[in-house]
Subunit: 268 residues, 2 copies
Amino acid sequence: MMLVNGVAQTHIDVTDRGFQYGDGLFETITVHNGKAVFLTQHIARLTAACQRLHIPCPNLDLLHTEIRQLCQHVEQAVLKIIITRGSGGRGYRQPDDIQPTRVLSLHPFPTYPDNYATQGITARFCDTRLGLNPTLAGMKHLNRLEQVLARAEWNDDSIQEGIMLDINDCVIEGTMSNLFYCKNDQLYTATLTQSGIAGIIRALIISHETVIEHTYNKADLLAADELFVCNSVIGIWGIKQLANHAFAVGNKTKYLQHWLTQQATHNA
Amino acid sequence: MMLVNGVAQTHIDVTDRGFQYGDGLFETITVHNGKAVFLTQHIARLTAACQRLHIPCPNLDLLHTEIRQLCQHVEQAVLKIIITRGSGGRGYRQPDDIQPTRVLSLHPFPTYPDNYATQGITARFCDTRLGLNPTLAGMKHLNRLEQVLARAEWNDDSIQEGIMLDINDCVIEGTMSNLFYCKNDQLYTATLTQSGIAGIIRALIISHETVIEHTYNKADLLAADELFVCNSVIGIWGIKQLANHAFAVGNKTKYLQHWLTQQATHNA
């Protein structure tokens, strides 16, 4: 099921600047029992990204109506919203009258084994490095070649996530998730002012717990007591193995998983 | 006129990874008297970018046939070729069987006043900085938000190009062009190992003249004797004014313009 500017269709114009330049942004949202989970937070991030990219924000009443239209009667799914700067001529210059494109699409909810959440996952370090770009850092924009190349590094289904470093050897995040570690009961995660995507679950955790956002390296990560990754679809997964180092899915991770499940129930 | 995988149509699937992630690359080529100018060089760059992005290169015979089909009987136009990783599921992971999308489109040749070439253009420095990303540097890939944001900084038609610096204050290139300067008869241009797009005209100049590729800053640029920008559509334009500094369109620029016109005639 897909809506392009409110119309049920599955194609867009070649001239759309989303296709020509990756000139847009997106949100990936869990749908549960007909409701979009953490929708307030996703819409706030979408609005903020539109402002940063100077794309006129879609009418939010209209957007909410379309989201309800798509999600009602849906038990479990993933809702993806893409906003682009719309169609424009050849060349980077944007049209004087920007008519943004909005695409809402529903996708099957991925079926992950229960033990990813309960026992933890296996992760690897990616060779592909995240570049440094303060202008774009933090945003879930459509320029995602770094993640595509990093995710293409492995094809082994026993590995669930790849951890990405930046070009200065600082640990940043997973290819599709944010990364936290816990050391002596203190939570840490990477500063995302130069690269990375500031996820909704990451923000929720930071608003609930004292988290030190800082710059850290592989050795810091491997010396941690607990590691976990998070995003809006998987929730929180502990990491049980990373680069031949074994970790326990500890109490902090389990506590946050439990807390997040409660929050998701209240925010859907 | 537009061909999508050989079919005359003006739309692509929303699921195309070019739209979802900017997962692809492009070429912008001048068409003159029915021929694509510097086509050998453009196809070589396209092939190299496909290899770097691990996108299967389109069949080159087919591509050449489609280019001829589009360009025959066309006096003057711009041909844009886009290659993407094709359609894939939600998520960065690429499909096991990649079926690339190829889009060929013809656009009106922009009408620039003759004095841009003869008298030089006015340029400005952009505030938007280029990020550092060795994995992607040099390629004409579809992740072009940096250029879009830089080009959106001005709307004054008396300014023809914006010069971009990277986050380390090094001068790199124009929003749509490469940048050279001449000092004491020696040509210089920026190293493009961390950011920027390695243009076809840039490569032709480097193959013809001794050019020092190096890292340089605003002061170096403003102390130059001559400045010029180049790309496949504009050719070479001298810069007569940049940030309140006036420059002459000097002999080196004029010589290269003359030489490039000859080369273009022989390579079309």
